[in-house]
């Protein structure tokens, strides 16, 4: 297919097909399993696993279609091999917040067994870390 020749869209189409294939298999497995066992728990899990694959496959399919419909040639020659994603995607700088968030959640979760004296500081630390983590990303530098 013409779209498959384009390295940018080809990857998503393959990924979409992989997940749609998985989804098809799981839906089929659900039907076979339910009919032969009439067991609800396993049928539920197989069905939702199919849903999982369908979420990803469906989303990638929609994305691939949108890019095919609005297909524009890459402006600069050789733009396909350079990954513009690396330049444009923003990732936060290293900071204390991921660690603090983790510690807050550890104290909070253990507090469920230890008592309120651990839950409250854990919750405060978690909230403060989330706040700090979000603030960190405001400057985009």
């Amino acid at each position: 297919m013409e779209q498959d020749a384009d390295p940018q869209t080809a990857g998503m189409r393959v990924e979409a097909r992989i997940f749609l294939g998985i989804a098809s298999f799981l839906v089929l497995a659900t039907v076979v399993y339910f009919v032969t066992s009439s067991e609800n728990a396993g049928s539920t899990m197989l069905f939702l696993a199919g849903g999982m694959a369908l979420m990803i496959g469906g989303y990638l399919t929609v994305q691939a279609r949108q890019r095919t419909d609005a297909a524009e040639p890459q402006g600069e020659g050789g733009g396909g091999s350079d990954d513009p994603a690396a330049e444009e995607a923003y990732l936060p700088h290293a900071s204390v917040w991921p660690f603090a968030l983790g510690m807050g959640l550890v104290v909070l979760a253990n507090g469920l067994a230890l008592g309120l004296w651990a839950v409250v500081p854990g919750a405060l630390l978690t909230a403060a870390s989330g706040f700090g983590y979000a603030r960190q990303s405001r400057r985009r530098d």
Partner: protein, 196 residues
């Protein structure tokens, strides 16, 4: 940016013309894994139900109508969240903030109702197997709602005021998360309150 690329927010929000936003793809993959998390709880419900003689136990009195109204509120909040995202995509930050705050309020109403329902119940997590799975399912869902409210506020905190951070991409993936939480609740409500 390459001269030939269309001025399409979905394209410019992510990298290059050929691929969607990596943040959006990553969020969808993560939500698919969260579906697996909830599927374990749903399976637990059905497994316990199948091995119980009396389900639900006698001290369990649910109010499907009341919880149904809360469900409608949560469903409506998906629409308000979408309105917020659309406003952000059109560059209208103030309207976006307004709609997202409305969404936060509606999510808060859902949680307050859940807390009040919990307080009125005569059974607890440790009363019986039904109690355990009931509170685990609805409790984890409630935590997801709470986390979603926190996410909305965090995205607003990052993307408003004097900042160079874009608001639309953050709200788009927050919207994905919120719709997911909504759909999971519809399934949970149907399973626990309607099917029983």
């Amino acid at each position: 940016m390459a001269g030939g690329v269309a001025a399409d927010p979905e394209v410019s929000a992510g990298p290059g013309a050929g691929r969607p936003s990596m943040l959006a793809v990553g969020t969808v993959v993560w939500l698919a894994s969260e579906l697996m998390f909830f599927s374990g709880l749903f399976a637990g419900w059905f497994a316990l139900r199948a091995s119980s003689l009396h389900w639900p136990p006698d001290d369990v009195e649910l109010e499907p109508l009341r919880t149904g109204i809360a469900t409608v509120v949560l469903l409506a909040s998906s629409f308000t969240m979408h309105a917020g995202t659309r406003a952000a995509e059109h560059g209208d930050r103030r309207r976006a903030v307004r709609w997202v705050l409305i969404t936060v309020a509606m999510g808060g109403i859902f949680l307050v109702n859940q807390a009040l329902e919990y307080a009125a119940f005569e059974f607890s997590l440790s009363s019986h197997a039904y109690g355990s799975i009931f509170y685990l399912m609805t409790g984890f869902h409630g935590l997801h709602v709470l986390g979603g409210l926190g996410l909305m506020l965090a995205v607003l905190a990052v993307g408003t005021g004097r900042t160079r951070a874009p608001l639309d991409e953050g709200l788009t993936v927050t919207e994905y998360y919120w719709h997911f939480v909504d759909v999971v609740w519809v399934g949970m409500f149907a399973t626990i309150y309607l099917l029983g």
